[in-house]
């Protein structure tokens, strides 16, 4: 009853680990089998290896955190050779989160993934933490449509476009991704934020600014998913601040077909499992037979 189908990919439950918060799954697999999760969205991967930003890369904020990891990753070929074989045996759906600095990088990365066991590609055009992390493509409708179409043409996997919340009108970006040929949308990535150490007068994050995530952003994420779900036909994977099963239900009601859980995993590594169990219990109690009955079920005033 928990299973969902997104762009032709069957997830056994709608709880997916969010990109960048779950690595390639190995660390949390020490605590529970990854097969407990509907899927995992892997750490943002680029064509070539990236060193990432100097530390500090993370800090807490009220109800959330900032990060500016800067897409540290070993490159897509390393991912395919070293992580994917193991990952593909874990009994969970694998979403490759792809970032880059130029359209051609995205395309080449997506092409390299074509013949692999990856189930879905998530186009990260919203990483605010590297100068060329793709966010330049993510904040104009033209940019979103252009890169989506380009990757669509070279990518044989179902393509999910991950939207940035740092825009005036998220629905424009969603519509642009739909026009560009996306099969699904995920939102939201992080809101750009900053903290300053008042003693050293230095920004706490070495990159000066970082991406805000965690419970603090939940209302913004719910609002954006709701707005977008009214404007596009694509399935939406909702994320941003989900830390309880109630949050997940809210996100589904707002219009999401599945959810991703990120920062909450740092607070409690078992959060995704607890969310899944809570959701199941809620559905049983309320006679909800399938997750899709919840999707978009909000009754606006």
């Amino acid at each position: 009853m928990l299973n969902v189908n997104i762009a032709g990919v069957e997830f056994k439950n709608p709880i997916i680990a969010a990109s960048g918060t779950f690595g390639f799954g190995r660390e949390y697999a020490e605590m529970y089998p990854l097969s407990e999760l509907g899927g995992i969205s892997c750490k943002g991967t680029t064509l070539k290896e990236r060193p990432g930003n100097p530390p500090p890369r993370v800090t807490e904020t009220p109800g959330g955190m900032l990060n500016a990891v800067g897409l540290q990753n070993p490159g897509v070929e390393h991912f395919i050779k070293e992580d994917l074989p193991w990952l593909s045996r874990q009994g969970t759906r694998i979403i490759a989160n792809v970032a880059g600095s130029a359209v051609s990088d995205y395309c080449k990365t997506a092409e390299l993934l074509n013949g692999t066991p990856v189930d879905m590609v998530e186009l990260n055009i919203s990483c605010p933490n590297v100068k060329e992390g793709g966010v330049q493509f993510g904040v104009t409708a033209k940019g979103v449509e252009g890169i989506t179409r380009a990757v669509r043409d070279c990518c044989k996997k179902p393509l999910m476009v991950k939207l940035s919340p740092n825009v005036t009108d998220i629905t424009e970006m969603a519509i642009a991704a739909e026009s560009g040929g996306a099969d699904a949308l995920s939102l939201i990535n992080t809101l750009t934020g900053m903290r300053i150490d008042i003693n050293s007068r230095r920004p706490i994050i070495r990159n000066n600014t970082g991406g805000l995530s965690g419970p603090a952003v939940l209302p913004v994420a719910i609002r954006m998913v709701w707005q977008v779900s009214g404007k596009v036909k694509l399935p939406i994977v909702g994320l941003g601040g989900i830390s309880t099963w109630q949050d997940a239900v809210e996100m589904l009601l707002a219009g999401a077909s599945a959810v991703q859980v990120g920062t909450a995993i740092f607070t409690d590594p078992y959060a995704p499992i607890k969310i899944r169990d809570g959701l199941q219990e809620f559905m049983e109690k309320n006679g909800v037979k399938s997750v899709s009955e919840l999707t978009g079920g909000v009754k606006p005033w």
Binding site: G20, T21, F22, G23, R26, E27, Y28, E30, M31, K43, P51, G52, N53, P54, P55, P56, R57, V58, T59, E60, T61, G63, G64, M65, N67, V69, Q72, I204, G214, P215, T263, I265, F266, T267, D268, P269, Y270
Partner: protein, 254 residues
Amino acid sequence: MKPYDSKPCRLLSAGELTPGIFDFTVSCPELAAMAVPGQFAQILVPGHTLRRPISICSIDKNSGTLRFVFQVRGAGTEGLSKFREGDTIELLAPLGKGFPIDPDKRTLLVGGGIGVPPLLGAAEALGGNAVAVLGFRNRELVILEEDFKSTGAKVLVATDDGSYGFHGLVTELGAGEDFQVLMACGPGPMLRGVKALAAERGAQGYLSLEQRMACGVGACLGCAVGLVDGEGREYFGHVCKDGPVFPMDMVREV
């Protein structure tokens, strides 16, 4: 068996060693069974999104307990200090790579301030074959001296202002000792000093480092630290998974 896990644990005792420095003993048999000195725990502080990394100060596998000694630095450690005996506290532990203990090698343990507690577990495991050189700002801040003594280690204390023990730096004090291995935890300048000392003596050196953390297990890549590999290639490793204890030659700068 899981190499680490997140569990609600009972706080068996909660005390304050000196103003602002707290001493917790937590019952967690499964976690204690896996722990080695120098590893740490990610401790959940209610109301906070990120857990706080605190080193394991001492491990008692028989009674199934872990001891933590921490200083209040900000809102997180302040929240932690509010826990009381009998409360339940959520630990993700044991995490990271600890000190490589070899009781056959004379080991110099150098700790500065709140860097002292993580070395206690090492002293215990070294079973007497250790010299612990502990530095503090002043007499009021001296902690754990007796605990180190009861491990059988030779214990030397230095204070910055000379109000207790040796008046000066732990590195000066350590320089008078014989050792094959050096393990250190403390502020940056101290670590630079001990690195030089170990290099001078040709001893193996291990430094315990800190960095702001999110996951604590190696998944988020938050706790970057500049490292150098065997071929001199620089890269960012991660304090929580590759450390917190690093062979000093790997560390780019402290």
